[in-house]
């Protein structure tokens, strides 16, 4: 009988830790200056915005089936370019604060008559794909590029 409470306790602790693990994220990133982080962002693990419509968001997706950084980079680039008409303006190597190599694809696209910028930064581990998206209308996005790059450089993968 004495063992029961300890079993319950162990089970409760186990379930609790499982929930934290499921609900939690496997990254950390400093929110850039002038951005406000938003709650309950559904498909985004984190999303923040400026008052004038520059948005940064992070998606965390299971790397299943497991693909390499090159695979996901090509899949993402093909879809955005060929199906959505985004212009691939640049492709640069980046590195997470924890040392993982990643790829940043810088796209441009007109929405209505106005040009927009859209960056996707990709980090891939055995278990997860992290996609940091940043975008906004060119005239408001361009002044924020430095702050966005700085924030991405603080990205840590747990």
């Amino acid at each position: 009988m004495l063992g029961l409470p300890s079993s319950r306790t162990a089970l409760a602790i186990g379930l609790c830790s499982l929930l934290i693990s499921a609900c939690g994220h496997h990254f950390q990133m400093v929110t850039p200056n002038r951005f406000v982080e938003l709650d309950d962002q559904h498909q985004y693990a984190m999303r923040a915005t400026t008052p004038d419509g520059v948005v940064i968001g992070v998606r965390e997706i299971d790397n299943d089936p497991q693909g390499t950084l090159e695979f996901w980079e090509e899949a993402l680039s093909n879809h955005l370019r060929l199906s959505e008409g985004y212009a691939l303006l640049d492709s640069i190597e980046v590195q997470a604060a924890t040392g993982q190599s990643g790829k940043q694809l810088r796209f441009g696209r007109d929405e209505g008559e106005r040009p927009y910028h859209y960056w996707t930064t990709l980090f891939v581990t055995d278990d997860h794909i992290f996609i940091i998206e940043a975008g906004g209308q060119s005239e408001t996005f361009e002044p924020m590029q430095g702050a966005i790059s700085d924030a991405i450089s603080t990205f840590r993968i747990d």
């Binding site: 498909q43 993402l76 199906s83 212009a87 859209y118 996707t120 975008g135």
Partner: protein, 313 residues
């Protein structure tokens, strides 16, 4: 005398100029018909019949043969082969004329398909005047379609039009999402090289159409028709009766319409050969328009993009 000018008044005037023996017939009275006219009718009938047969059957020629390296196809280009610079046909030719003079005047541009045909006087009345026509090289029409990314569309369109102007071409059509230019065929390759620098090219298709056979067919039929027209005009001048004259005139009218149609088609082909057409579209090819297109089974990829990121609600 141009056939189109054959109005009823002219016809009457010509009749009045005929020798006295044939002027025995007067249109206003229409009662005196010389005996000799029956023979004329037969002659006219036989002539028309033989002319029609000639028109259908005389357009024979031997199929031209070209050196293998002078013939280009879409497939070759898509596999990475270079399109012709057209240096072979452009080097010895004058530079293209100014844009403003180009539309609709293929025979005025720097390179004219007619030059490729052996010179046979168009107004020759020699039977079988078209015999001996032979092309010296294939007659090709170049067209290209580009899909560029949808970014800074207006500026990109301006750059495409600038390419056309720099190449000696002109803007052909423009709307919100596409622009079509015409450039001299000699500078087709150079033009598409420059357009590829303007934006992110999502898709390209280059097509080369060989119109040699069609061109030669029409050219031969035109020459035969012109020769027949000359003979009909000569026959009309000697017609003795109204019935004969009207019959010839009807045939002349039919022939005139045919001649104009053929000339129009040749002008069109000349123009298409002299100026290549390049369309630049700023729309991606939608998957829905190409059923069976490969799609990755990762739904999150299709959620990426600005609309999803920027919609904070």
């Amino acid at each position: 005398m141009p056939v189109a000018a054959f109005q009823a008044t002219n016809y009457r005037r010509e009749l009045s100029l005929l020798p006295n023996t044939t002027r025995a017939y007067r249109m206003s009275q229409g009662t005196t018909i010389p005996v000799a006219s029956r023979t004329w009718r037969k002659a006219v009938g036989l002539f028309l019949l033989s002319s029609l047969l000639l028109g259908c059957g005389a357009a024979s020629y031997s199929q031209p043969s070209y050196p293998a390296d002078s013939y280009y196809t879409t497939a070759e280009y898509q596999e990475g082969g270079a399109l012709p610079q057209a240096s072979g046909r452009s080097s010895a030719r004058p530079a293209p004329i100014h844009v403003a003079q180009a539309p609709g005047s293929g025979s005025e541009v720097g390179w004219n398909a007619q030059e490729q045909l052996a010179q046979v006087p168009a107004d020759s009345d020699q039977p079988g005047a078209a015999q001996g026509v032979s092309p010296t090289r294939p007659m090709l029409i170049y067209t290209a379609v580009f899909h560029l990314s949808v970014f800074q569309v207006e500026e990109s369109q301006r750059q495409v039009i600038a390419v056309a102007e720099q190449m000696g071409g002109f803007l052909f059509r423009r709307d919100d999402r596409s622009v079509t230019i015409r450039v001299p065929a000699q500078r087709f390759q150079e033009s598409i090289d420059r357009i590829e620098q303007i934006g992110d090219v999502l898709h390209r298709a280059v097509e080369v159409t060989d119109i040699t056979q069609e061109y030669i067919d029409i050219d031969i039929r035109l020459r035969n028709a012109l020769a027949m027209r000359d003979r009909l005009e000569a026959l009309l001048a000697r017609a003795e009766t109204v019935a004969d004259a009207l019959q010839i005139e009807r045939e002349l009218q039919r022939l005139t319409a045919e001649i104009e149609t053929m000339r129009g088609r040749l002008r069109f082909l000349d123009d298409r050969m002299a100026y290549s057409t390049i369309t630049v579209s700023f729309e991606p090819r939608r998957p829905s328009s190409t059923p069976g297109l490969f799609r990755l089974p990762f739904s999150w990829i299709y959620e990426l993009g600005l609309p999803s990121l920027l919609n904070l609600w």
